[in-house]
């Protein structure tokens, strides 16, 4: 591992961690604009994080070590996950150690800890949220894996850096199978990030909460880490989406002169993706929780169809 590679890795990871709340703020701001509100500004998540980090943590009396450790584990998982996704360059030494299947595993690990911590204190809301989250997750995860298999079949590799290299730096081809995978991926993204058709991130109404219900018992720095991890998760998904379906502009390994341009392209793509996400959320209504399996079943089916199409037409 050379210094150049290490620097590239470090730069991308720091960029993702620092930029994640901005992306979340941008999505919320876009949503506010679409709903004719003025909105809190794109920097609001940072203000929230600073406020939370300055407060003293309050723990429930019967909270175990698991409850205290969970935020750190979840945050670490998300940092690891985002550091194996190429953001601006395919120069990622960490990516050699973990492919897309490990990435799905990392996301699952974070989710398990989050659900366990939510159940740990023993409040009704926590276990309710955890159960709902697991219901959604156990359906979203196979769909996500299937989404990954289509580009993996095309580029003959399950490593994201190789996939991006294949898709972005070879001759331009249209892959019909990727259209299926893209639709399925958007559906999984909505479900996994607690966005509107499946969960409402802005609500604290007991009947509709999924993600928020799990965080109710957290305060101060623990809550800050959880919120930050949530923003990082959105960032990870956005980065995966860009890497798989719009990889043009990501610099090749070792070409540092392309990096400033790549950062600008990434910012533009993330801004577009965030606005698109806000638009999707504004246009759709939240569905009943029992409709979620149908929704994710659809995503799984589309991902499988993508693979089948790939095998049929070989493009």
């Amino acid at each position: 591992m050379s210094w150049s590679e290490l620097a590239s890795q470090l730069f991308q990871t720091v960029l993702a961690i620092a930029g994640a709340p901005l992306l979340l703020g941008w999505v919320n701001q876009c949503r506010a604009w679409l709903q004719n509100r003025s909105g809190p500004g794109v920097l609001q998540p940072y203000r929230l994080l600073i406020k939370l980090l300055q407060k003293d943590a309050v723990l429930a009396q019967n909270a175990s070590w698991l409850f205290r450790v969970a935020p750190y584990v979840v945050f670490a998982c998300m940092v690891l996950a985002v550091s194996i996704v190429p953001l601006v360059a395919t120069d990622l030494p960490f990516a050699l150690a973990a492919d897309v299947i490990a990435l799905v595993g990392l996301l699952a690990l974070a989710r398990v800890f989050m659900a366990l911590a939510a159940m740990d204190v023993g409040t009704a809301f926590g276990s309710l949220g955890a159960r709902r989250e697991m219901l959604i997750a156990c359906l979203a995860e196979p769909a996500l894996l299937m989404v990954f298999f289509t580009p993996a079949l095309i580029s003959q590799s399950t490593e994201l850096t190789v996939i991006v290299d294949q898709l972005a730096h070879r001759e331009l081809r249209l892959y019909p199978s990727m259209a299926f995978a893209a639709v399925a991926f958007v559906m999984v993204l909505l479900a996994e990030n607690a966005r509107i058709p499946v969960d409402n991130p802005a609500t604290h109404l007991e009947l509709t909460m999924v993600h928020e219900a799990m965080l109710l018992e957290y305060s101060a720095r623990h809550l800050a880490l959880m919120e930050w991890a949530h923003a990082l998760k959105l960032m990870t998904y956005a980065a995966i989406g860009i890497a798989l379906f719009a990889p043009w502009g990501i610099a090749e390994a070792g070409v540092w002169s392309m990096v400033p341009l790549a950062v600008a392209v990434l910012a533009a793509k993330l801004a577009l993706a965030g606005a698109g996400l806000a638009l999707l959320e504004t246009l759709s209504a939240k569905m009943r929780i029992f409709r979620a399996p149908e929704f994710l079943g659809m995503a799984f089916m589309l991902a499988v169809l993508g693979m089948l199409t790939r095998i049929l037409v070989q493009t």
Partner: protein, 219 residues
């Protein structure tokens, strides 16, 4: 033929498959008609691209025919029908989506396997999409089987015709002009007759639920 043209044809074919699945899952009647019009549009576009790729003039006529008949005329008739029957906002509730989707995937696998030996025999540039064409025919068939209301069944029938047309395009560059015109006329007349049937069914049973037809005698 260039690689880009083949890519575009494959992409449009995949879009058709996507639309077929969307129709299978769509509960609302109005959206179903929109999807049917979209399917016709993609079909016309695909035919035009194939025509441009291989330079066959008669395929342009089929494309225009598809556009006029399946994107403009038939959806317009269907819109008029659902307005007259007051079922514009009808929602089909008894659709078990998960099972239907699984059956749909199995159908797609069967269709792809069935089509692969045929497409190896065919000499056309579009032979790869034959599997998708067969899959859309089977999916439309599945949609006809699973729906209870009369109008979605008819839309399923029409989209089955779309799938057959697509199969003809991908296997043999379309049918002879006379056959194509004949089928177009048949479909048009068929829709008129179905329209009359709808009114008759509703007059007799006070609903458009096909299951009422299973009973042969009055109680």
């Amino acid at each position: 033929m260039s690689v880009a043209a083949a890519d575009v044809i494959n992409l449009l074919a995949s879009l058709l498959l996507l639309i077929a699945f969307a129709m299978l899952a769509q509960r609302r009647l109005l959206r179903l008609i929109h999807l049917f019009a979209l399917q016709g549009f993609v079909l016309a576009l695909n035919t035009a691209v194939v025509a441009a790729t291989i330079g066959q003039a008669h395929l342009y006529f089929s494309a225009v025919l598809t556009l006029v008949l399946k994107v403009i005329l038939l959806p317009w008739i269907l819109h008029r029908l659902i307005d007259r029957l007051h079922v514009r906002w009808d929602v089909e509730t008894q659709v078990n989506l998960s099972t239907i989707q699984l059956v749909g995937i199995v159908l797609v696998i069967i269709a792809f396997n069935l089509a692969s030996p045929i497409s190896q025999l065919a000499g056309t540039v579009t032979r790869g999409t034959l599997g998708i064409a067969m899959a859309s025919v089977l999916l439309s068939f599945l949609m006809m089987i699973t729906r209870r209301k009369a109008i979605p069944q008819v839309i399923g029938f029409l989209s089955m015709e779309n799938g057959l047309f697509f199969a003809a395009t991908s296997a043999t560059y379309g049918m002879p002009m006379v056959v194509e015109l004949g089928i177009a006329l048949d479909v048009l007349v068929g829709v008129f007759i179905f329209g009359i049937f709808f009114f008759q069914i509703r007059e007799t049973f006070d609903s458009l639920d096909i299951h009422h037809l299973e009973r042969l005698k009055d109680k």
